[in-house]
């Protein structure tokens, strides 16, 4: 297990991860930079501070915390963070979305990429999987945490609410779910496409302990995850409603859904990289 990083160190890692993301999607001219950038700080906080995890990678993860990415399209941030955590070589990021790569467009176990425990991409399935993993941990008398990240647009999938109903009824209180609440989806703002309305009230009504956080403030994320852990073990699953800015860190990608699934051209790449310090060396 790696030692925990300071906020300054975490921010430096996040800057490199953001560089990786824009370079990866530029290189294959496809992928989803917006949500990846928005969730970068959260991923870095989880993998470099909060989670007890082993990059040697054992699928069963006994005694380890687990993370599941339900909104699999933000794979660039996941891959970069896994690589920098030591799950696989950082240079492999160059193969993202290319033929014969383990770094599929959406995360997959099929190619045995260390760090990935379930395929995701078809939305709405990750919370159910996380619940299953949490049930297995309870049977194994393993009180590690199970984390899952979902998109906010993903909340429109019916399966999410099947799972949302199950977790509190089965008192899965080591389950910490987060929603990337950026208010955007492919076709526009969630409020216009199919309004999520009051997510806090919805999850509370289902029986969750709900907290809110700012997902683009490193210290705020750490505080939120600490809060979530302090609420664990009390009979309720925890839902972290995390406000983020899609495209965070690259000014022209922020504040709109337009960069949900679009790759930058050469000039845009240069402009984006100019805003992001190279801290760990580019792959």
């Amino acid at each position: 297990m790696a030692e925990k990083k300071s906020v300054a160190e975490l921010k430096a890692i996040a800057s490199q991860v953001r560089r990786d993301i824009v370079r990866m999607v530029h290189s294959c001219q496809s992928g989803h930079p917006g949500g990846s950038l928005g969730c970068t700080d959260f991923f870095v906080a989880l993998y470099f501070h909060e989670m007890n995890h082993d990059p040697k990678f054992n699928m069963d993860a006994k005694g380890e915390d687990l993370f599941f990415l339900s909104n699999g399209h933000i794979s660039p941030v996941f891959y970069s963070v896994l690589a920098h955590s030591g799950y696989f070589p950082v240079k492999e990021l160059a193969t993202f979305r290319k033929i014969n790569s383990r770094l599929q467009g959406h995360p997959a176990t099929h190619e045995h990429l260390p760090g990935i425990r379930i395929a995701s991409g078809s939305l709405g399935q990750g919370l159910s999987v996380a619940i299953g993993a949490a049930e297995a941990k309870r049977l194994n008398k393993d009180d590690s945490y199970v984390y899952v990240l979902m998109g906010d647009g993903e909340q429109q999938e019916g399966q999410v609410w099947e799972a949302a109903m199950y977790a509190p009824n089965h008192k899965l209180d080591h389950l910490i779910a987060t929603i990337d609440w950026n208010g955007q989806q492919i076709d526009g703002p969630t409020a216009k496409i199919n309004d999520l309305r009051d997510l806090r009230a919805k999850y509370e009504a289902f029986g969750w302990e709900v907290i809110e956080s700012n997902g683009n403030d490193m210290a705020g994320i750490l505080a939120a995850l600490q809060k979530a852990k302090s609420l664990a073990g009390k009979g309720k699953p925890i839902m972290n409603l995390m406000k983020t800015e899609m495209g965070a860190g690259v000014d022209f990608m922020m504040g709109s859904h337009k960069w949900h699934g679009v790759a930058p051209n050469d000039e845009q790449l240069a402009e984006a990289l100019g805003q992001l310090e190279e801290t760990l060396g580019d792959y």
Partner: protein, 320 residues
Amino acid sequence: MTKFEILGKNDTRSGFGVGLLEAGQQNPNVVALCADLIGSLKMDAFIKEFPERFFQVGIAEANMMGIAAGLTIGGKIPFTGTFANFSTGRVYDQIRQSIAYSGKNVKICASHAGVTLGEDGATHQILEDIGMMKMLPGMTVINPCDYNQTRQATVAIAKYEGPVYLRFGRPKVPIFIKEDMPFVIGKALKLVEGSDVSIFATGHLVWEAVLAEEILREKGISAEIINIHTIKPLDEKAILDSVAKTGCAVSAEEHQMNGGLGDSIAQTLATHNPLPQEYVAVKDSFGESGVPEQLMEKYGLNAAHIVEAALKAIDRKRKK
């Protein structure tokens, strides 16, 4: 006289129930999930003995498939239980992504398959499930024929690593597979030796094939009866060895003609040894309410239809 003695009568789902209990006793990692159909799936005995290893998911099959996938991460061997319709079509994408593509060791156990579900009608009588499941890369598809074989199959799949679709049914049907007969996943079971026609049957149609063999024998025709309990991976060798001897084939299944066992056999024949084949299957229609025997007759799925198909296959062979 048929070549097999009727040892009793019971539903295949009860075979699943006892098999699940047995698998649970053999391996503490075996767990079970159900979507509000415990009684129908005969899961009570397992739940009574292992309450902490059972998960009642409620009427939420998509969630059940995802939870099952998650349980494998942690070393569990989950058996999901609901009707075949809700085990496949309703949750196809969940199975495809979270179980099949992810290579998870989930056992999808599906009762009330086919028209013999009876009175509930076509909404519940799935006839497309074998096709859907066999198309998924890496998925093993098994459709046992009686109580004993369903018990054997349930125990066997717990010991096999990888996703499995186990299909069984609702009505009480003859038990004729002896407990000491072998059950090996992917290995066809030859029930009767014959020389004029090969009848490859799965599920409830295996007993009908045994009945058909008797009728054909009385007509002076020697039918070979082979029980294909594992549709995928298909025992191609057993099929090709048999047709090399008989020169023609009949496939028999309680499933759509499109995409079922018959198509798997046709693919094998077409690519290795093209010979006449006749299908006993549902011909591109939905089922309806009724009692199982009536529905089997109306949809062309009983011994009389197998005999008719066998005669036609033999006739085509002779005209070649």
